[in-house]
Amino acid sequence: MTTDDQASDVPPYAAAVRAALSDLPHDQAEALLEDLEDHLREIAAEAGASLTERLGPPEQYAQELRAAYGAATSGKAQREPALRNLQRAIGSVTSSVWYQQLRAFLPELRPAWWVLRAYLVVLILTAALSPGYNLHPIPNPFSSRGLLEILATIGAILFSIRLGRRSHPLRPGRRRLAIGANVVIALLALPVLASMGTFPSFAMVESGAPEQSPDFASPYSLGSVTNVFAYSKDGKPLTDVLLYDQDGRPLTLAKDPDRTTDYPIGADGQPITNAYPLNQRRLDGTPVLQPRVAIPPWPATAVPASPTASPAPSPTR
């Protein structure tokens, strides 16, 4: 009794009804229209005529629904032709097959979002709590900070999954709040992620290309840098250069497990760990050679270079 012709009547008709009621609050519209399609299919199966012939135009059907359901009558929305066209356009998109398939598939990605949002929240909090801190996509697990970040991320992921998997559905008001919170997380993450890209990335430093000079504007990005070589602008290598960060703390590098470092001992008997380049040997005892570097040509307009690379073999504290 059901011909394909009549059954195919249902999606566009239902979409037009939904579009005409699109000014209703989401949860109210959902409660009203939950099984509209099933209901219309029932009618389409029975009747010989098209849905429009049987039920009148979808806009009129929507008005009748609205009245019977006791929902607020739409005011301006129905009279604005531009808005109505937009609603109709949205309706035709939401009733298309690919949109339906996408809608059906999206819920399967939910667990991925639970993990991602936890990661993003920790990233946002880290960026907010320490503005100068240079974020990595993956924190360095050998620094206490990075370790803290990783542990916080794991904790947040567990909590986020628990939140996501709760069995009972939220009340409409709470649900809107939850959706809002998720959107806020996604929006806040955008600038944080964007700022992360402007620093030399962890992976680049890790590649160990000897030509790459680390960016001193971001000392903590030196994740796996094992040594630092300083040159004067005319290309002379500098030795025993003392480096400090913006807070005046000595800038030291994480220990490289493949190399041993001989630090110069100061007059007070303490090793000086921030004098570069470090004097390093491989585990088999052979010294680590200085890398070849490409010194950029200095601008010609600059004041004639005065060599300042006076070797200072005895570092002062």
């Binding site: 509209l36 099933d38 209901h39 019977a68």
Partner: protein, 117 residues
Amino acid sequence: MGQPELDTSQLLKGVLDLAVLAVLAEADSYGYDVVRRLRENGLDHVGDASVYGTLRRLFQAGALNSYVVPSDEGPHRKYYGLNPRGRKALDQSAHAWASFSKALNHLLNGRSNGHDH
């Protein structure tokens, strides 16, 4: 339009809840079946959307319970039935309707009596 003639659909609006509750009191039913049974009982002008909207509203108000019955051919059917609250609403509405129609009948009879005498 301001026509003096009585508009049945206007009348129906006020009592559609009662009519739907009464149909469901006979037997649990799904949307389109409710429409059909109302029409079989003489309410020819009942609109499909009105019935569907009324069912959803009564359900949201907690007067109905609902369950889905799968069908081999065609779509699944969502059946609605009265729960205790719905039954109570039906009793109260039926009572209100009885006294309302009694009053109106009395008025109308009085008019016709007046003509006769």
